[in-house]
Assembly symmetry: C2
């Protein structure tokens, strides 16, 4: 007993060392797993388990460390450079064209009431082609446009989206939020997912599979695909079709599986496309003035 | 001595409790600081010190939990709904318009050789107006377009960008990357930042300051601003001007301070704008075919 009591400080010291060691190991494994997630592998569920894995995509934020800034093309064979002399308009015509284009785009509104009338397929092909001209980080063109015309698949998409949306409204969103939205006649019922002749689901390719099985990270894929979506909206407006930009909450993985897209593709946006319904309405919003969005230096 | 030795297990137990408490406090302060950074305050350098504070913006990922999916408007007064009947074109004309618009956008290329010739200011106003018609999460219109025409400020921007870019090339990017880029005649010298008659710096507003001093998070601000950039690119192409979409690496904070933008604004993109230089060249790239970007269901 005397021996044990003499050794008490030793026990305590050993215990301290052991605990300090455990603590340190824990810290360093946390920081390394955090760094791993930040290096864009997309497997950071360990570090941030609260993020839906399919929604998780760190490349926008953390990829910058390795990213060339002006989106040059890498990884391709030597490319010859060719002269580029696009069409040039006289100043008066430029001004006229800039006014006209602004006026066209300014008439665009997000529309939730879409007519079931058919729309020529070739027009859809051309608006997707237009979207595909967007610039992208290192010219990776990291987009897939899934165009759904099949009534049954559209209905399955509606079921998936409404199921999640009902949970969002009833559980995930606060009372005030739901109240605010009620005034706007928005709820989880998305009739347009059945009625619109086309649903365009835009997937971002977060990485490209390489022939050797490795992954090539697509830096800035979300920005690139969103820019492409901007071109798509302009192209739709230009032909008199309407849509609403939606980012279905928590439905990405379900919809990806339904549409048989590979795991490197994540749903970014869902756009129902068609003519507006004859009785379509929109909230009476206005846009900010030029002075509120532009600063001239 | 016998008393002390009898108390050994008690000492050990107390020590364990104290250490467990310290450990737990540490963990919970970490997780609360991580949550704080994810709620958009931008002060997450503690949780993720390797991320440039100004570049850090988790709202895209973590905001989804609280986000309504179809970008309805919240927080505004009751809005009346008004009928919406945009212009409708006959099918033949739609098809013609869709072809023509695709053909216009397909001629767009990223151009790094920009002529110093002046461009009418009113044209720039109109392309920014066009960009400002983009949809945005909850109609927050979270964009600021800083248009720089002043030669001295343009030169300061060039100095900031080139300084960081030189570090990127010499230290942050791997040898292979730099080698790949050399073949493409890209390096850290960005002459266009001096020569282009305008530089458009696009800032995303990550949150909106509220009258009561609180912050209103702008969900999906990066997607919204990127869509707006897509409209800007279309508008520029439509008037015969060229640009290159760049995302200056690590320069955001410097440039934000130079341009006196508030802390809720983060630089997303920098676009030099003008006519192409007479000897402008572009890499001889092609775009993916429709079948490679579209899936029809």
């Amino acid at each position: 007993m005397a021996l044990i009591s003499a050794l008490t400080p030793v026990f305590v010291a050993i215990l301290c060392v052991v605990i300090a060691f455990i603590f340190k190991t824990q810290r360093s494994s946390e920081s390394s797993s955090a760094q791993k997630s930040s290096s864009g592998g997309g497997s950071g569920s360990e570090a941030r388990p609260w993020v839906d894995e399919d929604l998780q995509d760190d490349t926008e934020i953390s990829g910058r460390e390795n990213e060339e800034d002006d989106w040059a093309v890498v990884g391709t064979e030597d490319l010859p450079h060719v002269p580029y002399a696009p069409r040039r308009y006289p100043e008066e015509e430029m001004l006229e064209r800039s006014k006209h284009f602004y006026s066209l785009l300014n008439e665009r509104r997000s529309v939730r009431y879409i007519s079931p009338e058919p729309v020529p397929r070739e027009v859809i092909d051309n608006v997707i082609r237009a979207a595909g001209t967007a610039p992208s980080g290192a010219h990776t063109e990291p987009w897939t446009f899934v165009v759904v015309a099949d009534a049954e698949i559209k209905h399955k998409i509606r079921e998936i989206v409404e199921e999640e949306e009902e949970i969002n409204y009833k559980q995930r969103m606060g009372d005030k939020w739901v109240h605010d939205l009620r005034r706007l006649r928005t709820n989880w019922v998305k009739e347009y997912l059945d009625t619109a002749p086309y649903l365009i689901l835009i997937f971002k390719q977060t990485y490209g599979p390489m022939p050797d099985g490795k992954k090539r990270t697509h830096y800035y894929n979300e920005i690139s695909v969103s820019i492409s979506c901007g071109l798509l909206l302009a192209a739709l407006q230009n032909v008199g079709l309407v849509t609403v930009t939606s980012t279905p909450l928590n439905c990405g993985p379900h919809l990806r599986v339904l549409l048989r897209r590979p795991v490197n593709e994540k749903l970014l946006m869902l756009l129902p496309v068609g003519y507006p319904a004859p009785d379509a309405t929109v909230p009476d919003l206005s846009r900010k003035e030029l002075n509120d969005i532009m600063v001239f230096v």
